[in-house]
Symmetry: C2
Subunit: 359 residues, 2 copies
């Protein structure tokens, strides 16, 4: 088998050499925006951060040191009032889940495209409103699945598409971390069901769900699930740990787990009729990346230097906007995940299989 | 961390240097007995094959070339009639699943101990009869879970027990192969539900189920499952592919898959609060073996030369008999798996979670 490893990090989606620049308003100045998104945009080819939007005026102002391109630090209220609207072309929404909708609403009203963090919102009903806003205002809303613009996953997907492992049969996926070690606050928003929609399935489970959909180019038809919690901090959300099975057409199963209180680990493995692709580590963004392909008695370990996943994502989104192409993980695509996520909670509550074939 | 790799293949169960020899009647002369079991006994320290038992007189006679120690080749009927009963001490039962019970019955009547292939029988009801026979006749019945005497799995279990990965949280397990490539006969017994009890869950699924029980030293409390088939040969059994979730106490989940029509692959991974152990390949017996342990940011790849799994299993069983110790995977232990296996089919049929906490 021929793996052109030197081409692994090529941007297969890039058609224009110098399409221009998209100026971003970054909404929500939590650690992810400050430590990942803004620095990623600094390294990007087609993006710059011009506006920071925070619940706190001080935080918005202090954040201006993050990049020389930042012109304005404004509050949520100011953003909704249209302050500095001429200074940005698109909005990156990285707030708690249940705050995504109002910012997409304002962005739509201002005719700005949106890169919206995953999961889209805290409920299916609110996610549906985002889909409708995108359509009614004719704006692009891309859901920020950084795995979909990540070279390892894209190359793995090519191999699946080319039939290298035959027809996919089984998938295994896990994402786990210790949330309370990372953010030692039992009152954080991810543990408040009204704000997050759920702790583990929503935040971690969405990775194996969406990445499996992307790799298989297929959507689930049924789900089974179990959730459990031990620590008091997880009592309100209920899902400290989760296990769920996704059924795809033709009897393809994805056996998935997720935890906010287990060793930091992630893997994704697709076993087909003729071979297997294993991505390990799969979903975190700071590790060396690669995958293993097995066909017959042969195994290939394919590894290469990690790119900044957020830079890839931002540049992909900006390039699509600048060249007038539809974004790949659009709102309707993200809406399917919201329905699957909500069905997983429903299946865990009832103990019964939930049909999602109507998605 | 200190891994005494040179001691990895030590028999931690062995207490006697030269406890003697157990003479075996090998019942069922399919390829596994001829290509694996008899050669493994030839290499063993405490076992020899003295009697072969087959449905066909010719096969029983012809098989005598397999080992110099073989004294008798007899038919199933002759075995049940007690022919050559003085020439063996114990019986290895390696017939189709639904034939295990009558051979255990005869062995019990003849006061012979039994090493019975997994799964114990084709149904829970028949497995229960084996448990009762073992008890009533005071014979040892060990279920042939070769993973339980396999050095990689035993060392991994020690690490789990020592708390190296913290408390177990999540398990992933798969076993898959292409049955009709291995045995290209759509009328084979594994595809007849009356003889096998099921194709994939019974034959492959039992590996992640039992090995997870062994590694965690814990039994499932609930199961969820899906099964599917595409090929006509699997229409009667229904389970060409299967996905099932086992719930263990304290919200520990095992996400498992199995297939008789997918790339040959097997893996088992236990993720704990503090680390992870991944065994890959896990369940087949002809590959290089090892495991990976991850704790904090450290990863250790532990590999060593493969032993003959069947030799280990036969010697363990014989050593237990000769030293008067109870066997580890006894009939009651195997009976739990039978209940789990049957519950998986029930859960797949109903789409509902099946409680197995009463096991």
């Amino acid at each position: 088998m021929d793996f052109p490893v030197d081409q692994m990090t090529e941007r297969d989606w890039q058609t224009a050499e110098d399409p221009g620049t998209v100026r971003f308003a970054m909404v929500g100045l939590g650690w992810w925006t400050r430590a990942e998104a803004v620095p990623a945009v600094e390294e990007s080819d087609f993006c710059e951060t011009t506006v920071l939007v925070s619940g706190s005026k001080e935080k918005a102002r202090a954040g201006k040191d993050l990049a020389g391109s930042i012109e304005h630090g404004i509050t949520y209220e100011e953003f909704h009032d249209g302050v500095a609207a001429d200074a940005f072309d698109a909005v990156y929404v990285c707030t708690p889940n249940a705050l995504h909708l109002p910012f997409v609403e304002t962005a739509a009203r201002l005719d700005k495209d949106v890169l919206c963090e995953k999961p889209m919102e805290a409920t299916v009903a609110r996610a549906r409103e985002i889909v409708e806003l995108a359509s009614a205002h004719d704006i692009e809303v891309m859901v920020a699945y950084r795995m979909q613009t990540e070279p390892v996953v894209r190359r793995a997907r090519e191999l699946v598409r080319e039939g290298v492992i035959g027809d996919p049969v089984l998938v295994h996926g896990n994402m786990s971390q210790r949330l309370l070690d990372i953010i030692p606050d039992p009152d954080q928003w991810r543990l408040d069901p009204d704000t997050s929609g759920g702790a583990t399935v929503m935040d971690m489970g969405v990775y194996p769900i969406n990445t499996t959909r992307f790799l298989l180019d297929s959507d689930p038809t049924a789900v089974q699930a179990r959730t459990a919690h031990e620590q008091a901090a997880f009592a309100d959300v209920g899902d400290e740990h989760a296990a769920f099975t996704l059924e795809f057409p033709d009897g393809v199963y994805a056996a998935c787990t997720a935890s906010q209180n287990a060793y930091k680990s992630s893997h994704l493995r697709v076993t087909g009729t003729e071979g297997e692709i294993a991505i390990d580590p799969a979903f975190f963004n700071e590790k060396d990346r690669g995958f293993r392909v097995s066909v017959a008695d042969e195994h290939w370990e394919v590894g290469f230097e990690q790119l900044d996943q957020m830079t890839e994502e931002f540049d992909y989104f900006a390039h699509a906007l600048l060249t007038g192409r539809p974004v790949c993980a659009d709102a309707e695509h993200g809406f399917v995940d919201m329905c699957v996520l909500e069905s997983i909670y429903e299946a865990a509550d009832s103990g019964e299989t939930v049909d999602v074939s109507g998605l």
